[in-house]
């Protein structure tokens, strides 16, 4: 993602160093992308409201949160990792692994809190493994995390096998907690996952756009060597981002387990690419250094609302796939199309 997106946004107030013209250009194009997303979101909402009588309904919002909340939560650490020019394809496997750890401990009679603590620890350890291989050993993150994607899912399979917890004769998960799958937060129509996502999004947004650490992440993504020479601890930042990603995805695994009141080793299989799609559609550059949390939140809202609208209209899931792909294509084609046309015109002129 270059050109328009290349001049995109740093929202942080610490931009004093750059010249005003550059900053204005950056703000303008940043605004353009997020504004585009807002327009798309409004379009989706208008479409949904116009076509489906049940779309404008509080329960729609609740189920939207149930459907996409845990995926959206995984998109936040992914955003930070992609900002630094790396990727984490093991997120969905970590979700499955932590759910399986929780499940197997529950199956063996552990009480809930210790089981959750262990599952989150497993998340931290898995993230640390990614972090060591990527940040310390300097291995390519796409290859490493395809490896840990397979490894984590494999470990989940070893732990649970064909078992679905709670199995026959097991205790049910605590009803007060599995309630998050059926009831919104009292007094609102928000699912717990929605609120957790929004809180985490604010935290991520503040860290990325308003702290020195966030500035450092931008720098690492834009110019790793320059960042290194300017005293940014590139490796340490990457390492801890992977640990955070592991813990957050493990947490998403708990939420999904509670939401479904059950877990099997295959929970969330294949979701890693959905998460990547959400982040990229949100305007985060796959090469790192560019993107905003606001964009990712809008992207989540668009995918979630679209899915709800199309499901209510009984549109086949296949068409939803096509729309997901088309949106993703548009997100790279639109910012680069103008430049490509310019190149073609120049070539024709030369001939």
């Amino acid at each position: 993602m270059t050109s328009d997106m290349a001049t995109r946004a740093r929202h942080s107030p610490g931009d004093e160093g750059t010249d005003t013209a550059g900053r204005r250009a950056r703000w303008r194009s940043a605004a353009r992308w997020e504004v585009g997303l807002v327009v798309v979101l409004i379009g989706v909402l208008v479409f949904g409201a116009g076509e489906s009588s049940t779309f404008v309904d509080p329960t729609t919002f609740f189920y939207l949160g149930i459907n996409i909340g845990y995926i959206a939560i995984m998109a936040l650490p992914m955003t930070l990792i992609v900002m630094t020019g790396e990727i984490d394809l093991s997120v969905a496997s970590m979700l499955g692994l932590s759910g399986s750890v929780l499940g197997v401990l529950w199956h063996h009679g552990w009480s809930f809190v210790p089981a959750v603590v262990v599952a989150l620890l497993v998340g931290a350890l898995g993230g640390a493994l990614n972090g060591i291989l990527v940040a310390k050993a300097g291995l390519p993150s796409i290859a490493v995390t395809i490896g840990t994607l397979t490894l984590f899912r494999g470990l989940a399979e070893i732990l649970l096998g064909s078992l679905t917890v709670p199995a026959a004769g097991d205790r049910q998960f605590p009803a007060a907690l599995t309630n998050i799958g059926v009831a919104p937060i009292p007094g609102t129509q928000l699912s717990y996952t929605t609120v957790i996502f929004l809180v985490l999004a604010v935290v991520c947004g503040v860290v990325l756009h308003a702290t020195p650490l966030g500035r450092a992440m931008h720098a690492v993504g834009l110019q790793p060597e320059a960042a290194q020479f300017s005293g940014i601890r590139v490796r340490r930042i990457k390492f801890w981002l992977y640990v955070v990603s592991g813990v957050v995805c493990a947490f998403a695994g708990m939420l999904l387990t509670l939401q479904n009141s059950s877990v099997s080793y295959s929970a969330g299989t294949g979701l890693e690419l959905n998460v990547v799609a959400i982040v990229l559609f949100g305007g985060v550059s796959i090469f790192g250094g560019r993107g905003t949390v606001v964009g990712v939140v809008l992207s989540v809202a668009i995918f979630g609302a679209l899915q709800m609208a199309l499901t209510q209209l009984n549109v086949q899931p296949e068409i939803q796939n096509i729309i997901t792909g088309a949106l993703l294509l548009i997100s790279v084609v639109v910012p680069n199309g103008g430049e490509a046309i310019g190149r073609l015109r120049e070539r024709i002129k030369r001939k």
């Binding site: 993602m1 270059t2 394809l89 291989l133 050993a137 300097g138 291995l139 390519p140 796409i142 290859a143 490493v144 395809i146 490896g147 840990t148 994607l149 397979t150 490894l151 984590f152 899912r153 494999g154 470990l155 399979e157 070893i158 096998g161 294949g270 690419l273 990547v276 799609a277 990229l280 796959i286 090469f287 086949q316 899931p317 296949e318 068409i319 939803q320 796939n321 096509i322 729309i323 997901t324 792909g325 088309a326 993703l328 294509l329 997100s331 790279v332 084609v333 680069n336 199309g337 430049e339 490509a340 073609l344």
Partner: protein, 339 residues
Amino acid sequence: MSTDTAARPVRRFESLLRARELGIAIVIVLVVAITAVRNSNFLDAQSVQQLLSGAALIALLSVGETMVIITRNVDLSVGSTVGLSAYVFGDLFKYQHISVVAGFAVGIVLGAVVGAVNGLVTTVLRVPSLVVTLAMLYVIRGVDGMIVNGHTIDPTAIPHAFTEVGYRTLFGVPWLAIIVIVVVAVAGYAMRSFRASRDLYAIGSNPEAAALAGIPAGRRVFTAFVISGTLAGLAGALFLALHAQVDNSGGIGYELAVVAAVVVGGVAIFGGSGTVVGAALGALLLNTINQALVASKVSSFWNMAVAGGLLLAAIAFDRWLSLRVARGLKSARGVHRDV
């Protein structure tokens, strides 16, 4: 630079690559030997045939994927393309009663079209192939789902002569494996000998230098995507021959299995080095380990974890190797060179 100073590190590097393929082959032999000791049935003709057929599709896809990855790109749409090609092929059998040859042609052309779209968008718009092919993964899977529309192509709809491709053997080697071996051999030869294919390595090693050297990068990368798509189309046809049935889930998840095989096979994920033979051996190794676990009566639940561990080991080993090569070149020539 005179030719002989340039030739030495190149030859040395090549011999290391060759050693890499040898290394994978040795590991395969070791796995087979250890498993055969524990379970004598593992070397039965039938079991070996199963081993080869099982690895064939991923090995075939890994050939195209290798060409794409060597140029610093990636093709994540292959799994969906396999599914689409397999179903369309089966559908034509069922309702149009077309000939086997025509079916193959349709599958291959479909794959080539997908590859051309990937290649065009990537090279003309200069956007990251990971995003483009990820988008295509969804689009093609969606189109496939619409065509499938909940139906299944079952064995009764498929001519016998065609499913025979999936299980018949020639001198004990399954037809499926022969087709793949021929493709790997041709591609392996081409990747060593043709100028255009050497260009792929140049583009992946150093895009700026390749452009300055006058290599038509766009055209070459486009071709690599078309080849990858074409082979995915062919793999779809073979998928149908092997399984004799297909629904809307054909080929799901293949994309990451293929990338895994390619990486285990010694192809650098950031381009510039690796061979199709290595990648195909990587696919064979991963499948051999799967089958070995089954034959050793290790619970099949262990498959994925072992495959994942192996993949990580392969990546770490590559890094160690390239660091050694870099150090070796440095001390041999007294100057710093990037490998």
